[in-house]
Structures are given as structure tokens and as C-alpha cells.
């Protein structure tokens, strides 16, 4: 028997995905409700602009709705959605030439660091990285993906992924040094 619409919130995700695959709009709505925060946060880290991030996240869910009937394993919905999100972000980056507006760390204005929220500071620091470096760093730190997974997901060579993450990490460490835990001072 099909669960009533209000019951979806308590249903296991695989069941809700199963129903969404059959074209149930209520089930898909529940999936959007459950996953929206994750995808919107991921997009915010990728682009650093809340409005654009929500727009891209909306595109992700619209693509998901269009293609969900092709999803073979309901249990892999999360990974499938992440793949869609990365694909949407890569398409957006290519279209808008994300490399063009990326600043170098040296040129970034860091004078107001810590005056705004932590998330904004992080987004601002991320925006100083070039598009591919930012994507690799976000997938590594925000999504906790391994280098091999990032390589598989983005289509970038493993060596490139590693160097992007190393470079991105070094830059973020420099920019966000104010957030690093204070080292105990040397008694001498």
C-alpha cells in the first residue's frame, strides 16, 4: 500500500526514492526537502554566492526529477544526486569561464576577515581559488571524498586532483590562519 503523503517524512529514503522513480511527485518533494540543505551548502561552497547556489541547486533537483526514472538503485540516490550536482557546477563553470574571475591569494582583500560569519569567510577564501582547485578542495573537505573518488567524479587526472588539493589547502591555511587553533606559547 502506498504511504499517505504526510507519512513520507518518516519513511526510509530508499522507499521514498522507489516511489519517486515511479513518478510520485509527493515522494520527490520529500526527497527535495531532505536533501536541499546538503546540495545548497555544497553549491555555496563551490560558488560562494548564496543566490547563485540556490539557483544551481534548483537545477540539480530539476535534472533529478527529469532523470530519476533511470536511477537503477534507490540506495544510491545520494551519490547520484551528488554526481548531478557536480555535473551542474562543471557545466556552469565552463559556461561562465570560472577561471576568468578567480583571484590570486595575493590580490584578495582579507582585511575584513573574521568580521563576518565563518561560512562567509570560508566562501570568500574559497573564491580566491581557481574553479578546478576550488571544486577539488570542496569535494575533499566538504564532501570528504577521497582523491580517487574526486578523480572519478570530475574526470580530472589523479595527479592533478592531488596537486589542486595540496595547493588549495595551502592557500586556505594562509588565508584562514585566524581560525587556526592557537599554539601554546614558548615559555622562553
Amino acid at each position: 500500500m502506498r504511504p499517505a503523503r504526510q507519512d513520507f517524512s518518516k519513511s526510509p529514503e530508499s522507499l521514498v526514492v522507489d516511489l519517486a522513480i515511479t513518478g510520485d511527485r509527493g515522494a520527490f518533494e520529500e526527497l527535495v526537502r531532505r536533501r536541499q540543505s546538503w546540495i545548497r551548502n555544497l553549491m555555496r561552497r563551490c560558488c560562494g554566492d548564496a543566490v547563485l547556489a540556490d539557483d544551481l541547486a534548483q537545477q540539480v533537483f530539476l535534472q533529478a526529477w527529469r532523470n530519476i526514472s533511470r536511477l537503477q538503485k534507490p540506495g544510491s540516490f545520494g551519490a547520484w544526486l551528488k554526481r548531478l550536482a557536480i555535473s551542474v557546477w562543471l557545466q556552469h563553470s565552463r559556461k561562465n569561464d570560472a577561471l576568468r574571475d578567480a583571484d590570486e591569494y595575493e590580490g584578495a582583500d582579507l582585511s575584513q576577515l573574521s568580521d563576518t560569519g565563518m561560512a562567509m569567510d570560508l566562501d570568500r577564501a574559497l573564491s580566491t581559488l581557481t574553479g578546478p582547485v576550488r571544486l577539488c578542495v570542496v569535494l575533499s573537505y566538504h564532501e570528504r571524498m577521497t582523491h580517487a573518488e574526486i578523480c572519478e567524479m570530475t574526470g580530472l587526472p589523479l595527479g592533478t586532483v592531488k596537486s589542486h588539493i595540496r595547493r588549495g589547502t595551502e592557500r586556505l591555511q594562509q588565508i584562514l590562519s585566524a581560525y587556526r587553533p592557537k599554539q601554546p606559547e614558548d615559555p622562553q
Binding site: 527535495v32 526529477w65 591555511q173
Partner: protein, 115 residues
């Protein structure tokens, strides 16, 4: 370099992830899916009508061309006076035979070049 991450940065990323209120966003997405559904229905309807119109307008000319082709391909290349011999050689003595040979030869060349 291994998959090891800087713990301080990792903590910063984790702390920056906030639970975003989703009612307005979800409503926006569902409204767009409604529009997509209407558009899909319209496109299917339009494509169906276009197909019917094409079939209507093109059925006569297409049938005419098919008839002409059938006639041309089955025309004997050499006129033989012996009826029995003409019947026996009919499969080889038509325009279709050299055309079929040419198609087979092109297919073989294509396979040799591209596979």
C-alpha cells in the same frame, strides 16, 4: 600526498555547514517541475501533430518515389529474348544487383577503414 586532510580546515568546513530552511526552496522546485510537466505534454502533442501532418502531406510523393525506385531497380539491364533464360538470370540482370554489390563493397571498405 595521501588523502589526509588538514584537521583545522576540516573542522572549519564542518562548522560552516548550516541546516538551511527548505520550505520555500522545495516549493520553488516543485513549481518548476509542474512547468516541466506541462511543457513535456505540449512538446509531445506538437510532435505528434507534426508527425501526422508530415505523413499526410508526404504520403503521396513518398509512395510515388518508392514505386519509381522499385520499377527502376527491377528493370532488366540486358533484354534477353529467351524467356526461360531471362527468368533464371532475372536476379542478376537488374539495376538492383550492381547497386547491391556497390553497397556491399562500400560496407567492406568502411569496416576495413574504421574498425
Amino acid at each position: 600526498m595521501t588523502d589526509n586532510r588538514d584537521p583545522a580546515l576540516q573542522a572549519l568546513f564542518a562548522a560552516s555547514e548550516v541546516e538551511l530552511p527548505g520550505e520555500a526552496f522545495t516549493a520553488g522546485v516543485m513549481e518548476k517541475t509542474n512547468g516541466m510537466k506541462r511543457r513535456a505534454i505540449f512538446i509531445r502533442l506538437f510532435a505528434g501533430l507534426a508527425l501526422v501532418a508530415c505523413a499526410w502531406f508526404l504520403s503521396m510523393p513518398v509512395q510515388h518515389v518508392v514505386n519509381l525506385l522499385a520499377q527502376a531497380l527491377t528493370t532488366p539491364l540486358i533484354h534477353l529474348h529467351d524467356q526461360l533464360l531471362a527468368q533464371i538470370l532475372l536476379p542478376l540482370n537488374t539495376a538492383a544487383f550492381p547497386v547491391a554489390l556497390a553497397v556491399l563493397a562500400l560496407r567492406r571498405i568502411h569496416r576495413r577503414l574504421f574498425s
